[in-house]
Symmetry: D2
Subunit: 409 residues, 4 copies
């Protein structure tokens, strides 16, 4: 299973070609844990709005690894010492940083394995793989956990200008066709530097960072939090919640073995042992969609209708407001539904609900973005900018939504 000594390359519509740098990366990609990512949509159900957005976690992870190679090359060019060992570890860590994602990425965290984050599961996967690969992942794990003494390395993997964002913003913009969200990852990387063990951006990159933050903000409101994606994700979360509820009440539900396991058991981080991980590793979008295709013919009014809505794409109506939704508006929609179908209040809550969404384009508190001047001085980008708009962008924006059935239900 060793890769030959030939140039292993992958076609990528975005970067042209991606080179697999060495045999451990190759072997990790070949591993069933990683191949599973081919069956997990990067953007959840967003393809219901953007029909091109069927790209996967697999593709994204490899894209990140590609950008990491570029970043290492740029930093070395500027005199930052990075050993071959560290390079390998950085590539492994970014490749696996999201391997813990469950089906439909984020929806899963709020339903199936509630209380365990995908980062924690990523770490479990890395440890399992480390055992299998004779401790070859030890340094990668150290960096990923923030335990390595060179702090900037973690920042390449997880910060406000990490290789994760550099890839996903570009990739999601590409596949959705929302070209305003496109960022110039190549240029951003060209301007990376390290100062006092922290990742910084050279001062000539100020406008690019500003643009990057605005593009990210646009992607959040226009794509990730698009009202149709939002309602689809909320429905998906409710499908799984209802399924768990029914199972707990002794109702029989057809589902794949791994999905049944997670419907029947409430798993906490402590119980997430090797067997459990093995089962988790068998779970992907296909289990969920197949279950929903089946459940749309189930007897339960709630489950049936939720599944039908997603599978045949006649979703709930959704409205987004700047102010919290008033209780009586919510109540009215529920009353209408209950009168029509004589369902309980608890059941009606599955179809009529409110919530809030929020986004902060730039966070000043945590891992802020620093600008490096030619004279060696370092300054937070908000201060470095010649205008106050970045300060404005560091305020959190919150919006409120309500979902309720269309005429069809």
């Amino acid at each position: 299973m060793k890769p030959s000594n030939k140039l292993k390359i992958l076609n990528d519509p975005i970067y042209g070609f991606i080179t697999i740098p060495n045999s451990i990366i190759f072997d990790l990609i070949e591993h069933p844990f990683f191949q599973r990512l081919r069956r997990i949509s990067q953007m959840g159900l967003s393809y219901l709005v953007y029909p091109g957005a069927h790209h996967t976690r697999f593709h994204h992870a490899i894209g990140c690894m590609h950008l990491m190679q570029k970043a290492i090359q740029v930093l070395r060019f500027k005199g930052v010492k990075i050993s071959e060992e560290e390079e390998k570890a950085l590539c492994i860590a970014i490749l696996l940083h999201d391997i813990g994602h469950g089906p439909f990425s984020h929806a899963m965290e709020h339903s199936i394995v509630s209380g365990v984050s995908h980062e924690e599961i990523s770490l479990l996967f890395m440890q399992e793989l480390n055992a299998e690969f004779n401790d070859d992942l030890t340094l990668a794990i150290q960096i990923f956990k923030g335990k390595y003494h060179r702090k900037f390395m973690l920042q390449l993997i997880s910060s406000q200008i990490d290789m994760d964002r550099a890839d996903y913003l570009k990739r999601d913009s590409f596949y959705t066709g929302v070209s305003e969200g496109n960022i110039n990852s190549e240029r951003l990387i060209t301007m990376l530097h390290v100062k006092d063990d922290h990742l910084v951006i050279e001062d000539k990159g100020i406008y690019s960072i500003e643009k990057f933050l605005v593009a990210r903000r646009l992607m959040y409101w226009q794509v990730y939090l698009h009202k149709t994606s939002l309602v689809a994700e909320q429905l998906l979360i409710r499908v799984l919640k209802r399924a768990k509820e029914l199972v707990k009440n002794g109702v029989k539900l057809q589902a794949s073995k791994p999905l049944s396991f997670f419907l029947e058991n409430e798993i906490t981080l402590n119980e997430f042992n090797s067997d459990c991980l093995e089962t988790f590793a068998k779970l992907d979008d296909y289990d969920i969609v197949s279950a929903m295709k089946n459940w749309q013919y189930h007897d339960d009014f709630v489950l049936k209708n939720l599944c039908d809505m997603i599978i045949n794409r006649h979703l709930l109506k959704v409205k987004i407001k700047k102010k919290p939704i008033k209780q009586d508006v919510l109540d009215n929609h529920k009353k209408t539904l209950q009168q029509k179908h004589s369902i309980s209040d608890h059941e009606a809550n599955y179809f009529v609900f409110t919530g809030q969404i929020s986004n902060q384009a730039y966070t000043r508190k945590k891992q802020n973005i620093n600008i490096l001047y030619k004279n060696g001085k370092v300054e937070d980008i908000v201060k470095a900018s010649d205008q106050l708009n970045l300060k404005a962008l560091s305020k959190t924006v919150t919006k409120y939504y309500i979902c309720y059935p269309k005429d069809k239900l």
Copy 2:
């Protein structure tokens, strides 16, 4: 379910925006028969080679419809009369021309519903929809069946320069990242004309057509018939064949209801009634992948291993040759496998087999491409070209392959 009178637009990474021209097109897209295409991969298992190639039949069908609108606009500009009724019918016909595809597109035709082509099933779907839509699809069906008196209209849907090819070559090139396969659909369409009721290309488009044919040839050999795609598709066909075989022998196999139906019944075109179509409409890639994920743990040596190969992507070895594979080469590989696993000859055939692939870049006999000169003369492109290379491209190229297990099996 009526679309509002607003500009209904879809984001498309390739064309920018796609406009839904009218309410019947909108309603057809909303229909579960069509929404199903969201769950059918346009390029089958090619994403195992090209990780970006997860686009769907849904997206392609809408892309074709978009190009059809452009073609109609160009032809009208040049004085070709096309009524609103005909325009609507053309858009419907191209939108639905591939609706009969089963899971993983082409693999299905050689396994699940053998003996019934996807075009025939497309027609069944159209007729079913026609009943539901108060005969609004009658003209579209006439054109699709070649029964309409204006012959060029069928050529826009099905010929060597139809809107289907104009979209899929561009789209597949885009999503695979094989940029050499990219064609300039917009320019090709700009050069369309109609002469004596036949679709022709204006003479200044000769080099573009030549380039189009060479791009198509490249896509065939480098992408569609890529050896890894090829072996994956062959494995998929064999999974379904084996599954049918086992079911016939009374072995119980877990599968979704629609998949079970087609595993248990051999359906011919005559038996393809409305109920059967309804069941077929519930079948998509998710049924197949979920089944394989389950079957990889089945007791049957053949089924288990075939499924495992696809799901975890350690496929058979494949070699492509210019000459037919010799019998003794085949026999040797089979013998090696049988010695290792003590399986029957019949079982070994699932893992060691040969076949042939062929492609003809340009077909002169059927629906040839005609060039229109400024003086009104029309000539086959092979004659019109100033070089003999198009003549050369109209020869069929055949290659031969052999597949056999790697060390792992």
Copy 3:
């Protein structure tokens, strides 16, 4: 000279194809006044920094006209009545809106024809052409002058979201390769609407407008006001100023006839008669560059060195600061130069000078951008935005620069 009834199309690397809509547009493009724009660089001397930026005013003007056609199509689709006469006038007005630009666009206004803006000269050209084209441009001129009763039409030509900006930002970003400056003109146009005779943007376009303003800001600071472009333009202005000065003092300078005319005569708007316009129409980048190529061997120390700097691209050193340059810094540089070359203070001023640059990403006072909500309400974008960053962007940013010779002089 009438265009045939064929589809007249132009290749454009940005939009694919541009169609010439009718014969008057065709004839205007053919006119020597307009052909002249082929010889005027859109971005002045920016190609000294961005080697790809050799695109011309000709190309930009046609690009604007293309976007105008799109905008008209979108507005009509939304029910805004625009007559064929108005459509023609809008296309003419945008095509000719910049025809009054002199060589190297903006540099000219500050040297050759100081005191007469390019807009005023554009109007003179339009009036001249109107006479030649039998008053066919009357409505276009009315719109351009703001005298037409439908005010939104002028806004399509000149406002903060006009077709001029929609093209030049996209085009300049494309040709410089500064991809962060790229804007999605197509999407912006899709969101245009007219309310109470004013151009507005539908509310779903808020984030796109924000992105557009930030992209524009980035282009200003990173491209248009790039320090090397800045110094090149300042040198060019000084070349022409010095040349005029020498001519006034009786020094003989080789130059083309039209250039000599403008060096010898100080023309005000009143004196800009038909003959003068005819001479102006013969002036383009080639006259200036050819003159400088010649003048780099002239006896005059100032003229010779200024020309040499531009032609052989060893420009002055330039520093950009957030605060005004102190007088003694300026004086020191001048002293150094005067000691080295024993030139007068007046002469030294040509090589050592300061100045300021400023940009306002969004102007609230004049032609502000209004957002149209679904309920019909209209609001300034600054208020409509969910964050304060647009307010921040409406503050003017000013920077200060100093230029002085490198070692070479």
Copy 4:
């Protein structure tokens, strides 16, 4: 003038960023001989057809140098030893390979310096620079002259798959907007290898080469030999021919000094000394266009009209035929013109003339393209291809044209 130790990068719309690898390359680019290329159009007068095609020899030369760096990186990866000295020489040689081009590139060779090719002048420039740069260009010159023992190095600079073509096809396609001519230079380079000291292409690249050759063929007929470009170039050649003729007859013509020199003197390769080269180095597109702008008002009927045709773009009519133009057709057009203007036969020949154009997509005789199989075998691409179309493409195609005045003259 030394470059700092910073990463010197240039924006390129095609490759994103181009890095200047070392200080001698930097200094060569800064040299006035090279800066001159900023004022020479890469595609001559093609911008009269493709308004975006204003890119320069300067940009192309730097693009080639960029691709050379990539090629060296790929070859080294595959184990081909290339020393740092050789790398520098290869970059210099490709950077300067076209430095000998005169104004409007090819037109010049047939008029101003007839009998001296641009390659010969490139060599003269290199030798001149070598003296100035302390023999740092010696190895580059050796490679360029084919005198270096490692033959594949010349093939990187000049062969059917050299870096020159890899850049100009991509660049010309990009700037004209003729996207069918686009080639995937990156992929081609990825497939380069060296076998027995010859540049070869790995066998998996066969279809890409085929596509490259067809794209090149398309660019020739559709762009480089586009009938309008063709007639513009022919007119330009005749302008210079007529100017020389007039000068020889004692007529006074206004022109820049360097242009006057070449109009007055017939220079052969032997006479091309250092002074002459210095004068040549001052000649660029601006001298020619400025002269034509002036000469359009000259008394000479021929010169005046030829210049006017180019400057104001009302060119001669041109027809392209598969067979030679018959003498009587030519004679008739001449007669018509002579009757109208009472000019001599010699003068009429400037406006009515025939000629032929030809192109061979692939040349088998000289520097053929060889395919390297995995087993080490090497084969000419024509044989290696699975179809005969490449054989067909190696036939020369010839076409014939006639030019004559439109009504306007």
